[in-house]
């Protein structure tokens, strides 16, 4: 469960987020959406402890994230899953080594059967022993998703993980995420302005100009986006 209260953030004097309140219930597939420059990624980075807010409070379960420093923040991040627009795989390692690397280095066990299951589900099992530099961007992104889920995290932060993928791949990734929410109880918080995401999300929060749009506006916008979706 994530609870954010009055979160604010500025960069170089420009206010990116102001007075953001957000509640993401445990076990939900939450979507952060909104136009470009609305502050979606900034908010996700703050919630995922990649960055620190200028003001406000962020609680993830019982942890006040804004109070964490240095290694505590890294440990906090290690408990959760993170997937970004870019796979960020290490080119010299195989996909399997990439999936294991962060968890082994952070001292977390990796469930290899679970990894194989996810790889099978995402269609990259045959590529697990191939060097990351030799796979396509889409295959790498699927491996990055497996990396983020390999330790069965209670919470997954995803920042437009399907932005550069084809429609079929987008659906596959969304389906896997929905299964993880349903079967593993994982909470997923995803930033996306992809209309497909609306079909899978259980909670939608829309940001506009660094603030949260009201629920009624968000619902209307969501419906509108859904109708426009191909």
């Amino acid at each position: 469960m994530i609870t954010a209260r009055a979160v604010a953030k500025s960069y170089l004097g420009v206010e990116v987020l102001h007075d953001v309140d957000l509640h993401v219930p445990a076990g939900s597939f939450a979507l952060l959406t909104g136009p470009s420059g609305s502050g979606k990624t900034t908010l996700l980075n703050l919630l995922a402890a990649l960055d620190a807010p200028d003001g406000g409070s962020i609680r993830v379960d019982d942890t006040e994230v804004t109070a964490l420093r240095g290694r505590q923040r890294a440990r906090h991040r290690a408990r959760h899953g993170h997937v970004f627009q870019r796979s960020g795989l290490l080119a010299g390692l195989t996909l399997r080594e990439n999936i294991e690397a962060a968890h082994l280095l952070a001292g977390h066990p990796v469930d290899l059967e679970w990894v194989d299951h996810l790889a099978e589900r995402l269609g990259v099992r045959a590529l697990l022993d191939v060097t990351a530099s030799r796979v396509s961007g889409g295959q790498g992104q699927r491996a990055a998703l497996i990396r983020s889920l390999a330790h069965r995290p209670p919470l997954l932060f995803a920042d437009e993980p399907t932005a550069s993928l084809d429609t079929a791949s987008k659906h596959t990734i969304h389906e896997v995420l929905r299964e993880v929410v349903a079967n593993e109880g994982t909470t997923v918080l995803m930033v996306s302005h992809d209309a497909i995401s609306l079909d899978y999300a259980t909670d939608v929060t829309r940001l506009v100009d660094g603030g949260v749009e009201s629920d009624a506006e968000a619902t209307g916008e969501a419906e509108s986006s859904r109708r426009e979706a191909p």
């Binding site: 290690a78 290490l90 983020s148």
Partner: protein, 476 residues
Amino acid sequence: MPPPGDPRGRRVAGALLAAAGLVGVVLAGVVLALGGSADVLGPTEVSPQPGFVPGAVDALVAIVRAVRAVAPFAALLGLAVFFATWSLGALDRRRRLVARLARIEYSGIDRVSGRESPRGPARWVRRQVRGTGLAVLAIVLVGATSGIENEVTNGPLRPVEALTDTLADGRPVTFVLQGPDITFMDDSAIEVARMGDLVDDAPFPMIPFGKHLFNLDGKSALQLSIPDAVFARLSGEAVSSTCVGRTVLVDDTVGSEVGETISLNGTRLRVAGVLDGVAQMNRSIAILADSTARDCVLHGTSSAFFGAIALTGDRDAVDDVLVRAQVEASAVTEAHFLEENRDFWRANATPLILQLILYLALFSGFAAAGERQSALQRNIREIGMLNATGVDFRALQAIEMRRALSITVRATVIAAPLMVPVAAAFNASELGVQIGVGLVEVSVGFSITLVAMLAASRRALSQFRRRLDLPMAVKG
């Protein structure tokens, strides 16, 4: 000046350091080539009190010797850690992964040029030149120069020891020298007539000898002259009465064989014997009979002797002779003479060598720090991604430490055989000091480079951590 973390600042600092190192090396080379007496760096003037050795020099000499004493153990420990972690990697996936990450570039992309790194041998060579290449250079330079200090101190004393050994045939000797300056470098002299009185009055054999600087087949040469009778005994030949066909004893750095004809200050002389390892710093050595020196080389300009060797260890007896002959000279034991000379060289030449070592060590350390920092910056996205997914900097530190150790071990394997031709080239330059390459020198190079690489990696990662902007690093 740009801040230290700024890439331009690093380049400027690196360039300044490289320039300073180069200037230092050139100056030290020049000074050594001049016999360590040029007033270029530090206290290089001939000391008025030869016994005086600055405390700082003693401390630096002690440090160099301590490093040489400790280095083999440190190198052994470093190798043990390397092989232990390598072996444990077979049992432990985390260790294996750390070792693997320490071997590869995180990204495989050269972000400086924006191109993908080359593959195969080209990639290997490029990687070696970046990290290992630097370490190879450091090991060769630091390791080889660590062996010089002893040579600087003791090298110049070899001709004196060789001379006394040759003339006295192992018997104890006492030196008789004019004035208070009793180093082999001063220009004291005892007049020929006075020396004659001394030799006549002494109840023990006295062998006067001269000291002159001349050119020997294009090389700076220290020429010693000894009485004809002594020379005849040493060479096994009678000294000729005409200059043509006269003989000379030379040290092996001249590169001549017995029977060859050589030129000493324009005079052709025949080599009657070759002495081993008696070259004085930057100078070959030639021993002539007095008459040869006077009639053929000096052309009668010599009117004094540098000193005399009394074939007795009884210094009081020599003092009595000096008083009786009314010669104002000093009688010093061989041990005292050698000790004074050693102090002289330590005071005048050792600081230069220590500066050279210091320059090289600093250069290596800073270059390594710059190289590691640059490597981390090139991989900011991948390292940022690892950190974003929960890998803390302690784990990254372990990877970088392991990388530093691996680089140093690899570099040592390459540098150790390289040190042989480097030492040979240095020795062929006949600066007067010899580099000996052995396990101690290799281990000094290994240990200092390892410390520099570890410190550099630690510093680079610490700076990287401060500058890392995680949201930017993971941004698409």
